[in-house]
Symmetry: C2
């Protein structure tokens, strides 16, 4: 693992690292914030943040405003990239923003030419936590997951599939039902093929319908001025499935907020606290 940069921030250490990923077969980059509580030698709870379409690790690292709250609550914060990148990694044929590079959708692709490198599911569920545990003072038995938009989709599907690993769960403006919206049709079709039965393992609403249960309650924030709300995000679909299944989800519709980091950074502190209380 290579250290790209390291800098003191909010009493802790913000660093960026790169490593050759076995899961994706590419070099992957991620950021880590280790709060000042690590100085005691203690192993700390850890929160994975999955970013949305077009992002790298850098967007939330620069604009997410999470470090102050992580320093307050003693949380290690990990922000991975959103797809494999580099020579030989297939992209959307038209270079669109919503598929291919920057848009891995947190699945293991089965379709060519994506199957070799697009394995973000394994990367986030397996490889990244193990790498982080080997190199930073974290206690993997106290790991939570959150994310934004496509990353909110990843957080929900991973959290519902592996409740024993992801002990706390939240999301910002997540894609909750990719099987029912255009972004999801394109991504799941492209990575997993047109057999929609295979999509259900990567659709939070379908997972709840199919009996998956999170480790505990779920917190979702969603801006009501978000331009993607009605067509792509549709949190009511997830809320309805959860209600039917008896899954405890709080969906907060935040008046006036859009889909940007202005929204995320506003409610980040609430989410850090949510995870800290459960980890």
């Amino acid at each position: 693992m290579e250290t790209v940069s390291t800098s003191k921030a909010h009493g802790g250490t913000l660093s960026v690292h790169a490593h050759e990923s076995a899961a994706t077969g590419t070099k992957m980059t991620f950021s880590v914030f280790v709060p000042p509580q690590a100085e005691s030698g203690a192993k700390l709870p850890v929160l994975l943040y999955l970013s949305g379409l077009t992002c790298t690790h850098a967007n939330v690292t620069e604009k997410g405003e999470y470090r102050r709250a992580c320093a307050e609550h003693g949380i290690v914060f990990i922000a991975p990239d959103t797809s494999p990148r580099g020579e030989g990694v297939a992209d959307d044929p038209a270079g669109a923003y919503d598929f291919g590079l920057g848009a891995g959708f947190y699945v293991n692709a089965t379709q060519e030419p994506f199957a070799r490198h697009y394995r973000m599911w394994d990367y986030v569920a397996e490889e990244l936590p193990a790498l982080v545990a080997a190199n930073f003072p974290v206690d993997l038995s106290r790991m939570g997951i959150t994310g934004h938009s496509m990353g909110g989709h990843g957080a929900l599907t991973l959290g519902l599939t592996y409740p024993e690993r992801f002990r706390s769960l939240s999301a910002f403006a997540p894609i909750v039902a990719p099987g029912q919206v255009p972004w999801g049709h394109k991504a799941l079709g492209g990575y997993l093929g047109e057999d929609r039965a295979a999509w259900r393992a990567h659709d939070a609403t379908a997972l709840v319908e199919d009996g998956k249960r999170p480790a505990g309650a779920i917190l979702i924030d969603q801006g009501d001025a978000d331009g993607f709300l009605a067509e792509q995000l549709r949190p009511a679909l997830f809320a309805a499935a959860c209600e039917k299944a008896g899954v405890d989800v709080t969906v907060r519709l935040q008046p006036g907020y859009d889909h940007s980091y202005n929204f995320i950074s506003t409610f980040m502190e609430d989410h850090i606290r949510w995870h800290a209380e459960r980890l």
Copy 2:
């Protein structure tokens, strides 16, 4: 004045605006955060933040983490660009980062080919506050100024020259004595010419020596792991001049912090509070 973008953040409104500047003869861009207290119809105190070399308004807007504290204290936060830009605006002949575009040094240039557009002193002291007062709910009798590095230099020189306008004053890792450091030699020489007597009006340490006094106490934060500390910033020169002159300055050397926004964002809340208590 044209609105480039507007977005809700931390209960208030973050917006970016562009306008044809009379001072610089170019289109200038700045960001404004109006906190939720404006909903009452009250005119609020306002803080100008001047950015450092290479920055635009966007760096602090995205990475400064000021909005939460501004929302708490009811402060309007204004972030202008660091130089004129656009067709016909002269740049450093070699394209260096420390002169020309992105490096206006908050002076009115007297030397060609810079004299026509490089008038950031007038822009920040006169035009921008008037524009802001005409378009946003601010009380110019409660205006403070701060900034980072080159922008800390601008904040100190403007605050010392116009204590009746800038009622509170702070800086992050400022260039305190441009007449005694390489960045300043290049910039003041290039914009103001080689007669060093003209430089003293744009050198915070010289201004204090020459009898200028701020409206009140000054707060300076400086990271001790800042790679520019010993050669370019040298806060001890300013502290010594202030001590001799009886100017109340607090220089906090922050252990482990560098010159980046990781440093700025860590101490931004303290600076917002500093200004709020004085405005």
